[in-house]
């Protein structure tokens, strides 16, 4: 097959394209929920899809790592038990997800493919097609430029859309993306050189709108990784955290979980459930001993995982995509930028 280059679709024809996508897969896109919130949900009609929206506070991670995820069915069998893996390979298209979330999904894929590959995650992820909608301006709390995660995605998407008003420019980012565009046939046409230039300008303009923001991850990483953050500093932050766990749950790169069995008819479902490293019981051992009994050890652990050189070497990136969600959901003041600033300055003021 000839490789597909950037394509363009007229705004008026986008609905028809989405309808075609819906015939082939569950299409998940930002929609307006009852209650006025932008949420990612499976759409029933192309008209529901939002094109100008505040990025939903609940990231699309929930479709790859659900809060409750049955992974094994357990049934009684004779004198023992029969175990059967539960595989979710539903075809899904994540439409209009932002570059921060695209980068987060790429991060999660790497984590789950490394060391002991996580079959459950990888099979589900393999059935998901990612269509990114690039950001033409910064969102109020985002700092994706600091994490190399935006405003346009660099990796992890199958197709990236740029909104040009009366048309959308679509760039394939994978073989599957090329297939997706070529299968749409006459709905798309190849982009002109002017359109490609405009897409370049859009990205540059979006970056400029972030202003003179400086990335402080590097200096924070140096301090965290070399033990130069005083215990008292972590301790002083703990009074400004209510240990809700929301920073973990909405983080596009957090993946820690617990395993619990739920009754299901005569048997059980073994479920992977979200867990938070900020919860006291997260590391409590069966004996009652807890290596991270103190709050300061838990908050330290979170940021060590996110920004230490040790994890940077393993993952190749910091564990933050700059989406700004932890700022928005924090039931306290210990969000990523605030703590990174405290680490860098060696001071915490609430």
């Amino acid at each position: 097959m000839e490789s597909v280059t950037a394509q363009v679709i007229a705004r008026a024809r986008v609905g028809a394209w989405i309808e075609r996508l819906m015939a082939e897969a569950e299409v998940i896109a930002p929609v307006l929920a009852h209650g006025g919130d932008e949420v990612f949900a499976a759409i029933q009609s192309p008209d529901e899809v939002l094109w100008e929206f505040a990025n939903p506070v609940h990231p699309p991670k929930q479709f790859l790592l659900p809060q409750t995820d049955p992974v094994v069915a357990i049934r009684r069998a004779g004198n023992g038990y029969a175990l059967e893996p539960i595989v979710d390979e539903r075809r899904r298209i994540l439409l209009n997800i932002r570059s921060c979330d695209v980068t987060g999904l790429a991060f999660l894929r790497r984590v789950h493919a490394a060391d002991l590959p996580d079959d459950s995650y990888l099979r589900r992820a393999a059935a998901v097609t990612v269509v990114c909608l690039a950001c033409s301006q910064p969102c109020p709390l985002g700092f994706c430029v600091c994490s190399a995660a935006g405003p346009f995605a660099r990796e992890g998407y199958d197709v990236q859309l740029s909104d040009m008003g009366d048309r959308l420019l679509a760039e394939p980012g994978s073989e599957r993306g090329e297939e997706l565009l070529s299968a749409a046939g006459d709905l798309f046409r190849p982009a002109t050189s002017e359109e490609l230039a405009r897409r370049h300008d859009l990205e540059e303009q979006a970056k400029r709108l972030f202003g003179e923001e400086t990335c402080h991850f590097a200096s924070a990483m140096r301090r965290v990784s070399t033990g130069r953050v005083a215990d008292e500093l972590w301790a002083s932050m703990t009074d400004w955290c209510l240990e809700c766990g929301a920073c973990n749950f909405v983080c596009p790169t957090c993946y820690c979980f617990s395993v619990k069995d739920r009754r299901d008819g005569d048997g059980w479902l073994r479920c992977r459930t979200w867990d938070s490293c900020q919860y006291p019981a997260f590391t409590r051992e069966a004996s009652g001993h807890n290596p991270r009994e103190e709050r300061k050890d838990r908050i330290k652990r979170r940021f060590f995982h996110k920004v230490s050189a040790q994890y940077f070497q393993r993952d190749g990136v910091v564990g933050c995509v700059g989406c700004g969600r932890c700022i928005e959901v924090c039931l306290g003041t210990t969000d990523m930028p605030a703590v990174v600033a405290a680490i860098r300055k060696g001071e915490w003021h609430g």
């Binding site: 075609r20 996508l21 819906m22 015939a23 082939e24 897969a25 569950e26 929920a33 009852h34 209650g35 006025g36 919130d37 932008e38 949420v39 949900a41 499976a42 759409i43 029933q44 505040a54 506070v57 609940h58 929930q62 809060q67 409750t68 390979e89 539903r90 075809r91 393999a126 059935a127 097609t129 599957r176 297939e179 997706l180 299968a183 749409a184 046939g185 009074d239 400004w240 209510l242 240990e243 809700c244 766990g245 929301a246 909405v250 617990s258 739920r262 009754r263 459930t273 979200w274 938070s276 919860y279 019981a281 409590r284 009652g288 928005e328 959901v329 039931l331 306290g332 003041t333 609430g350």
Partner: protein, 654 residues
């Protein structure tokens, strides 16, 4: 047409309908504390699967606490009641709904025919509609004032005191207003864990430069953020309120004279701090007063509430936009339950039993005179009545004397329980009527700051369980007083006719946005000053320490936490480690006694003695011993029915 995704993933099985969403997200109200946060409950294939935050909810504003993130767990993982049960030959046996309702009404009728009383318990865990029907069942169908909920006594006296001290006002101000306060005064229990959204509002006010005064017997998380923390012994909070009143009067900010005996100089050790805090409060344009449920232990809640209202009124903060006076109900819909009239001495609407206008409204709407007698409270009912109907409440877990509750329930001639979960009360029941949990229910609830919000179903109730309002209607019909409701909306319509504050609730706001706020109105009642405070217990001589319970409620015993795998972990491990109870004390006290964590100490009061292992807790002040509410029965004999007692503590020999 060529397939768009030829290679990847399983093909959708059938037509479009099967491709389209299997995940539903329903906006509803968080079912735990009384902050009233909005959440999205999610279900996959009809099974509850998760929780999502709401950016636009006026209270939660994108935030959800640890409990809220687990709101889907208990209904999906817990031990659910799925079919009606009747006790036969000692065991609970599945029966049809008709048989169960018939058994319930026949038994209750027989109890009444035998000349014994029948009581009813509503609950902070039930909706406004359910609680209203509970009140109507008691004062209407059963004709009794024996009507209560286990947690009412932790909230209603405070709210009533505030009303008496402020000309009939309900607690006022919104949680969001706290964030803009210049001065915040918190009578803390531990809001950071009991009411995280309220604690966050305080935290945010501090971050924006507000001066925070905390008054507590614990150096809590909020106390550590405070500009001024006044340590008091339990029961001593009112000395600070009286001191603040004196200070406001002295600062000249008082807009009226102080009633005799209400301005009292605080104990010398605290005088300067309290005077300073009083000046802050008097001078602030916007100021917040928050009261944790624990603050009333050892105090008269009503006098405490009246004193707070007086303080607020004197300094001009009463009813001022942006100023707040909120007691925080310990559990979800406690405020709503009280406003629906679930209490031995209130009518629906919260008014007193002799409120002629309210009685007239009720008689007209109910088609018969309501019972106007004052009944017994929950604790007094159990052990004296012959029959009891319990709606989503659990006396053994929630009442101060859990052992007496277990015993009292076992002695009942007839115990009818409506609940979604298996609880100790359900285990003792004669008739069990399974109802929908918060995740399957429809109705409204009322938050600490008076926001009435929808509860929406996200999944079908399990088995043959039914919505609580339907079951209550069935029960009442069986007792000869049928309710004519086709939906919970019909119940709400009736609530609006009999509860004045709910009359102007905007249906559109309930449906299209996140609820509507009940406006605190003054009913022009004259301002009253109830009886003043007694002296708090003090340690002296050999009885050198004070023993008190920590908290007025144990989340670990609540089914929504106990059955939630993520939320219950801390409570379970604590019970495992300290199955016989524990006592918390400061490191200094432990050192002075020569004991280390885990070592036993003997605690002796006038009433009895007990030996318990020590847990050192840095928040506890010297001279204070605290026993978590969950372990209250282990120190029942030492407390002898009091909230706080002076005790002698020794290290056992050998």
């Amino acid at each position: 047409m060529a397939p768009i995704l030829p290679l990847h993933g399983a093909a959708p099985t059938q037509a479009k309908a099967s491709i389209v969403t299997t995940v539903d997200a329903v906006c509803t109200t968080c079912p735990f504390c009384a902050c009233g946060c909005g959440i999205y409950l999610q279900a996959e294939d009809g099974k509850l699967s998760g929780v999502g935050p709401s950016r636009h909810h006026p209270i939660s504003q994108s935030r959800v606490c640890a409990r809220g993130w687990g709101a889907h767990e208990a209904p999906a993982w817990g031990e659910r009641l799925t079919e009606p049960l009747v006790r036969r030959a000692g065991g609970l046996t599945p029966v049809t709904w008709e048989e169960a309702l018939d058994a319930a009404t026949t038994s209750l009728g027989a109890v009444q025919a035998a000349g014994k009383a029948v009581g009813v318990l509503g609950s902070a865990r039930a909706t406004n509609e359910e609680n209203y029907l509970v009140a109507r069942l008691a004062r209407g169908a059963l004709g009794t004032g024996d009507l209560d909920s286990c947690l009412r006594s932790t909230y209603l006296p405070l709210a009533r005191g505030i009303a008496r001290g402020s000309g009939g006002r309900a607690p006022w101000g919104r949680l969001a207003d706290i964030e803009g306060s210049e001065v915040v005064i918190v009578f803390d229990g531990d809001l950071a864990s009991s009411h995280p959204r309220a604690a966050f509002a305080v935290m945010r006010a501090v971050a924006r430069g507000a001066r925070l005064l905390t008054v507590s017997c614990l150096r809590t998380q909020l106390a550590r953020l405070a500009a001024l923390h006044v340590p008091v012994s339990p029961g001593g909070q009112h000395e600070v309120v009286s001191g603040l009143v004196a200070s406001v009067a002295e600062a000249g900010g008082a807009e009226e004279s102080v009633p005799e005996g209400w301005a009292v100089e605080p104990p010398a050790a605290l005088a300067e701090e309290v005077r300073e805090a009083g000046r802050w409060y008097a001078e602030a344009e916007r100021a917040s007063l928050l009261v944790a449920p624990e603050a009333v232990m050892g105090n008269s809640g009503e006098a405490f509430g009246a004193a707070l209202a007086l303080l607020s009124r004197m300094s001009g903060h009463l009813g001022r936009p942006g100023s707040v006076l909120l007691p925080l109900p310990v559990r979800w819909n406690l405020r709503g339950a009280c406003e629906m009239g679930v209490g031995p001495d209130v009518l629906p609407g919260g008014g007193p039993l002799d409120d002629a206008a309210a009685l007239e409204r009720l008689a007209e709407v109910w088609g018969g005179e309501p019972a106007t007698g004052a009944g017994r409270d929950a604790a007094a009912m159990i052990g004296t009545v012959g029959g009891l109907v319990v709606v989503a409440d659990d006396p053994p877990s929630a009442l101060r004397d859990g052992r007496a509750a277990v015993q009292g329930l076992a002695e009942l001639d007839c115990l009818v329980v409506l609940d979604a979960f298996m609880t100790p009360t359900v285990r003792a029941a004669h008739v069990v009527l399974p109802i929908a949990s918060h995740a399957e229910n429809e109705g409204t609830c009322t938050s600490a700051d008076g926001r009435v919000q929808r509860v929406r179903p996200c999944a079908p109730p399990p088995g043959s369980a039914r919505p609580g309002w339907q079951v209550l209607a069935g029960l009442s019909a069986g007792l000869g007083r049928a309710f004519d409701f086709a939906s919970p909306g019909g119940v709400l319509d009736e609530i609006r006719r009999v509860v004045p504050a709910y009359e102007r609730l905007d249906e559109r706001a309930l449906d299209e946005v996140w609820g509507d706020v009940v406006a605190p109105q003054s009913d022009g009642r004259p301002i009253e000053c109830p009886a003043r405070f007694g002296d708090p217990p003090r340690a002296s001589g050999d009885a050198s320490h004070l023993l008190a319970l920590d908290g007025v409620f144990d989340w670990g015993s609540d089914p929504l936490v106990a059955f939630a795998p993520t939320l219950s972990r801390d409570f379970i491990s604590r019970r495992k480690l300290f199955s016989g109870g524990l006592v918390e004390m400061s490191g200094e006290d432990a050192k002075a006694l020569g004991v280390r964590p885990g070592w036993p100490v003997r605690i002796k009061s006038l009433h009895g003695e007990v030996t318990l292992p020590v847990v050192v807790r840095r928040e506890v002040e010297r001279g204070l011993l605290l026993v978590p509410f969950a372990f209250r029965d282990q120190v029942g004999d030492v407390l002898g029915g009091h909230d706080i007692v002076p005790v002698q503590v020794t290290r056992p020999e050998g």
